[in-house]
């Protein structure tokens, strides 16, 4: 174990450094939150704390069909993509971690390749393909590319988790009279659960945050997700800036992510397998 410098000076330096990082990361978020509570008249006054508080922006976005519909699209598309990617990814990752099969190296290589592929270069071909086969501006039209790019992420994260679970546990379960299925369900799955949850959150965040595919492969409210819909927000007149509404929408779509992480934080702990084997 490395020796950690516990002197007062070192602790002080670390505190300052941590504070700088947190401020740097949080200021833009807080600024948007502040904008979302400002009235149109005070939005450009440059104050961090709004002079006049209002919930008008929130009321407005929920009154427009545009935003509510986009929210439903985002949640639906995100959940379906995540579910499929995590189920397929779990099976693939388990095989990669536990089995030696021909072409294993190739499979890992290809999934890494997909993860690294510049998505922008795929947008035009995907646009053409989806238009000609009728997937353009539909849910599956977004779900498919999300699964494609979510899978490598899922496979990588999950195989790392599965590798941490000692294989002896599965053997022990079999010796104790479990079938392969029981061994997986009663011994491996409970240990892999934090990994699966972590992976699901990561994949969901990826789908939820995507703007590139969402703006390129949709054209109407039918399948437009929130990040894309935000760019279509308009003010009441052409002279009005929709900043307040966009900020409110941005705050709304950040909330599920924050909730997710807070809720599952305690499950995303490493060291669940400690004590299984000599440690």
């Amino acid at each position: 174990m490395a020796v950690i410098d516990q002197s007062a000076g070192a602790r002080w330096r670390w505190s300052v450094l941590d504070l700088v990082v947190i401020v740097f990361a949080l200021i833009p978020v807080l600024w948007i939150a502040s904008l979302s509570f400002k009235t149109p008249a005070t939005i450009t006054d440059g104050n961090f704390i709004p002079r006049e508080w209002t919930l008008e922006n929130y009321r407005n976005i929920f009154n427009t069909d545009q935003f509510v519909r986009a929210l439903i699209n985002s949640i639906g598309i995100g959940l379906i993509s995540t579910l499929v990617a995590v189920v397929l990814g779990t099976m693939a990752a388990y095989a990669i971690a536990r089995l030696d099969f021909p072409g294993k190296g190739l499979l890992i290589g290809i999934s890494l390749l997909i993860a690294m592929f510049p998505q922008v270069s795929l947008v035009s071909p995907l646009f053409e393909i989806e238009r000609s086969i009728g997937l353009f501006d539909t849910w599956p039209g977004l779900i498919l590319p999300y699964i494609t790019f979510g899978l490598p992420l899922a496979i990588y994260t999950l195989s790392a988790f599965f590798r941490q679970i000692p294989w002896d546990l599965e053997k022990a379960a079999k010796m104790d009279g479990a079938t392969q299925g029981q061994a997986f369900r009663r011994v491996i799955a409970p240990l892999a659960a934090p990994g699966v949850v972590t992976t699901a959150i990561l994949v969901f965040i990826f789908c939820w945050n995507d703007f590139l595919f969402a703006i390129s492969l949709t054209s109407t409210e039918r399948s437009r997700t929130v990040p894309a819909a935000l760019s279509f927000f308009q003010g009441a007149s052409q002279f009005e800036d929709p900043t307040g509404a966009i900020s409110a929408a941005a705050v709304i779509i950040t909330i599920p992510i924050i909730l997710f992480v807070l809720f599952f934080q305690r499950r995303i702990v490493s060291g669940l397998t400690s004590g299984a084997v000599k440690g």
Partner: protein
Amino acid sequence: MADIVLDKVTKAFPDGTLAVQGFNLEIADGEFVILVGPSGCGKSTTLNMIAGLEDITSGELRIDGKLVNDKAPRDRDIAMVFQSYALYPNMTVRENMAFPLKLAKMSKEEIDRKVDEAAKVLELTALLDRKPANLSGGQRQRVAMGRAIVRSPKAFLMDEPLSNLDAKLRVQMRTVVSRLQRRLGTTTVYVTHDQTEAMTLGDRVVIMRAGAIQQVGEPQELYDYPNNLFVAGFIGSPSMNFLVASVSDGKLRTALGDFPLGKRVRGALDSTAGDLIVGIRPEHFEDASLIEDSIRQRGVEFEAPADLVESMGSDKYVYFTVEGEKASAAELEELAADVGSSDLPASGSNLVCRFSAESRVKEGDTARVWINLDKIHLFDPSTGRNITLHEGRASGVTA
């Protein structure tokens, strides 16, 4: 409880390596058998084949008279203790031990009764509600044992169960394992690479090397009458001394002097030409001044300066350097590689002698050493075979 029969069992891996070849062994009901050998000798693979965790490439495995080659581990009714213990980290000690019983669909009361009983035997009662992460190494080891005994299986398989414990605890747990096995009378197959464990625990010991059985027998038998160089070098601590020797004029010429050769040994030697290897255990040397005249003529004596004297209290280990060629054979190199001594620099060979505590030999003194010729073994370096063995017994070189 059951007997286990391995009939020409062979394991070949897909890449063609033979991990185990032609393994024949009959394990009687209630017997405690040890599989021992250096790492990579196939002992764990053999155990995994008995468990059903590895497929058998060819040959037959019968448990309780029934062929089980193609049966899943769960249908063989045997329990296993793993080197890593493999406790389920998400379950308490009680749940860990109850797991096999739950899978067997026993009633709640019966499970509780059996777990409590096993916990009492292994002194785990106070720990039943703890998770494995909060147990010490020795406690985890006992939980692993508890999980195995709780369902009274036909046989126990143990894969180096004590090798993760520190030295003192290992000795203590050795007696626990031994007593438990005697008490339950369950057929047990125990894998270890530690020859001390093998000698002290088993009814019978199977010594393996490169996937093949070298010798099977009771510990004392293996110690006194090793079949070949490998067994001779593997069993015993400190291990047997090996020296180069040759025969001329009816005498065995070694760096320690000339030994007379008996008629039967001479007869056996006619078939082998060239150099030989002499094997002498440390305790078959003695300080010549302590030897009574009545047995003195059963051995020979030599003089040499003592390099080092280690007093153990009960006896003394005296080290000598023997000039000349070092005994070499494939088996000996393998053993040296296993203990990691192959890269130690050495001029000539080292000789370890165990003298009784009354010996007055000091470091640097020239000591007069007596060798008991009745206990000497002679090996053929090309085949490794023990030439002095006659009808399974050895009687030294003068017979």
